[in-house]
Symmetry: C2
Subunit: 396 residues, 2 copies
């Protein structure tokens, strides 16, 4: 799995194409320039995630201004104009005084915003976060190739679980062993989430009742965790025979994520849980066969939810009780919570090249979680599923 | 290490004392109420890190309003008034229309701020982030006890490294094995950082030249990482005999962090690097014996930097070249980048009960990193060091 990091630098043709799309969007929205700052966006448009600011005017060249580490930014980024910043004030002459300047206001902290307001009193600062997230939602062939690789690694990790799963093992110990294998396979560690106060540590590896506990995360599964400070994921509870063991893991490879869930059980699993698992597989097939470019993300969810109700799992789908979340999937890429969101009411229209994690799951309080998750590419003909590891409950 | 999560809920006496200090501070700064939202602050003042808003008026009871998961917040928090929020609009009658409302403007995203400005047009929203971070910097006996436990776990993890360190092993594979042991010992996984765009995955486990590569992080070490998207930490480079192997790990236990660094080498290490390591140990002793309540954080740094220059390591201290960062330590607690910052020019005055990670390190480009890090309590008599694992370079 060894990869020379230089070989993973984003090619210039990619950066050029992304900046062109950004400029077109800015022009369409009559915004004079963008100042990109958030790590994932910065990487997307410049190829580097160093501490930096990327200025993209509609009528001039993009300029990358780097606080730390400038030398690495020079190596990583194919932007032609890169400058080391000794002080943030050196940005002023580069930015000038545009009428409107777009920033990522969904994530930019207020104190930084106030600083920019003071520095550019004649400029209106406008939100470009929806535009940027919409652009990033449609992946290039280059990006899809990396996500394919990440998904193959998810499959390899799924195949590893039966080798270490043992009754009586605390969830957190099982998680450690699987996470170590993920690292050996080249997992980057960090999983980026955009939502404020949202965070994930690899994913959710949990057994039985504790897997069915809801959390603060907008996710069908939560988990008890080890502390109320990070109230999700693996706990100290032991894995028991006969309960569903959930491995929902995001594999981060070369900056892109594959999101992948499989269910295991030691010895056996009750028939009604196996049936619920099969129902979730049917929902996955339904979504794969109906989702098409041109459909809204919300209508995909509605079709899934309708069929779930017919199958009798409305009360267990994507949570139980107040913990239910009305969605069936989400975009993935550099961040785990990208556009589109396959959720109730979402008007965003699916496009070819979007990449979505579809994750129908059934939650049974006190008993556990069953269901499936794979990462898929939106194609003309429906979803192309990347995950290949067998989808039935794996009895160990 | 199994811990029943209920036993880790923050006691009511702690929450009451913290809220009292917050109210005193608000009164002193003539702020009518605080609305606490950031995960770490929310946990500190309420005992829960669910998705919630904590309203703390100076003239009435604190009210916790929970979006998800309300049931868990009821269990975790000893706040008397807890309400499940169906919509954010239900917050308006609780908050009323104070003249001034304090929020964490160092981290609050602009779009959320704009929402609150619209909801409370007659209220001035003011920044309480410095106040909140200052309050959190001084730990209670209860918090210090948890940090002591975390630090003992750091020591156990340091003792584990010689069992798995082997020449030729990729850094990322070594990291995986150490991280798995950390999980087995009860590591919570997630390491919280407050700084925008700042993130850390466990810490930095790296060998030789790649450990000496600077990164975007405001930290003496960076590392190559596996991808420019997360350009720090372990890479695919193999660990080699005769080079310093850095294990700088934050141990997260029950929500609190211990920050801890030890250096290992397979076979042997060059005399000049061993000498530099000893110099860093001398700097640690100097800081331990001079830092006192009443001193500014900046003066602690200046004393250390002065002695470093006398010892001849000015060009290697806390980075090399443009990668140098003018600090020698930082507060730790729920977040890794807490107050006080032992850095050039910092006016914050040390107080009894503050907890700091002191981390004098010498960076040799092309060769590696030596030095030490321990977590310490600020006491009347200087720093009480928590880490106990031997501090010399461990030759394996």
């Amino acid at each position: 799995m060894a990869t020379d990091i230089q070989e993973t630098y984003t090619p210039r043709s990619e950066i050029d194409a992304r900046l062109k799309r950004l400029r077109n969007r800015l022009e369409k929205e009559k915004i004079d320039a963008a100042l990109i700052m958030e790590t994932a966006d910065l990487f997307y448009f410049s190829g580097t995630a160093q501490q930096a600011f990327l200025h993209v005017p509609t009528d001039g060249p993009a300029i990358l201004m780097v606080k730390k580490d400038a030398q690495r930014a020079f190596e990583e980024s194919s932007i032609e104009q890169i400058r080391a910043l000794r002080s943030q004030k050196e940005m002023a002459p580069v930015i000038g005084s545009p009428k409107t300047l777009g920033m990522e206001l969904d994530v930019l902290p207020v104190n930084m915003y106030r600083y920019f307001q003071e520095q550019f009193p004649d400029t209106e600062i406008v939100d470009i976060s929806h535009a940027v997230r919409s652009l990033r939602a449609v992946k290039s062939a280059y990006e899809i190739d990396i996500i394919r690789q990440a998904s193959r690694l998810s499959d390899q990790l799924a195949a590893f679980v039966p080798r270490v799963l043992e009754p009586g093992m605390p969830e957190i110990e099982l998680a450690g062993l699987i996470e170590a294998e993920a690292r050996r396979l080249g997992h980057q560690g960090m999983i980026r989430m955009r939502g404020w106060n949202s965070s994930l540590f690899y994913g959710h590896i949990m057994g039985g009742a504790s897997a069915a506990v809801s959390s603060s995360l907008a996710s069908p599964t939560g988990g008890v965790g080890t502390t109320p400070v990070f109230p999700q994921g693996s706990s100290f509870a032991p894995i028991r025979s006969g309960e569903p063991v959930l491995m929902d893991m995001a594999f981060g490879f070369r900056g892109y994520l594959s999101d992948h869930t499989r269910i295991y059980a030691i010895g056996s699993l009750a028939d009604d849980l196996l049936a619920a698992h099969d129902a979730m597989l049917e929902i996955q097939e339904l979504v794969k066969n109906t989702a098409r470019p041109g459909m809204t993300a919300g209508s995909v969810y509605e079709l899934a939810a309708e069929r779930v109700a017919e199958l009798g799992y409305a009360d267990n789908f994507m949570g139980a009780g107040d913990g239910r979340v009305p969605f069936v999937g989400h975009g993935v890429g550099i961040e785990l919570d990208e556009y589109p969101v396959l959720a109730r009411g979402q008007k965003m229209v699916l496009e070819e090249g979007m990449v979505v994690a579809v994750e129908p799951k059934a939650i049974f309080p006190g008993r556990g979680v069953v269901g499936i998750e794979n990462t898929h590419i939106v194609t003309k003909n429906g979803l192309e599923q990347l995950g290949r590891y067998p989808e039935a409950v794996v009895i160990v």
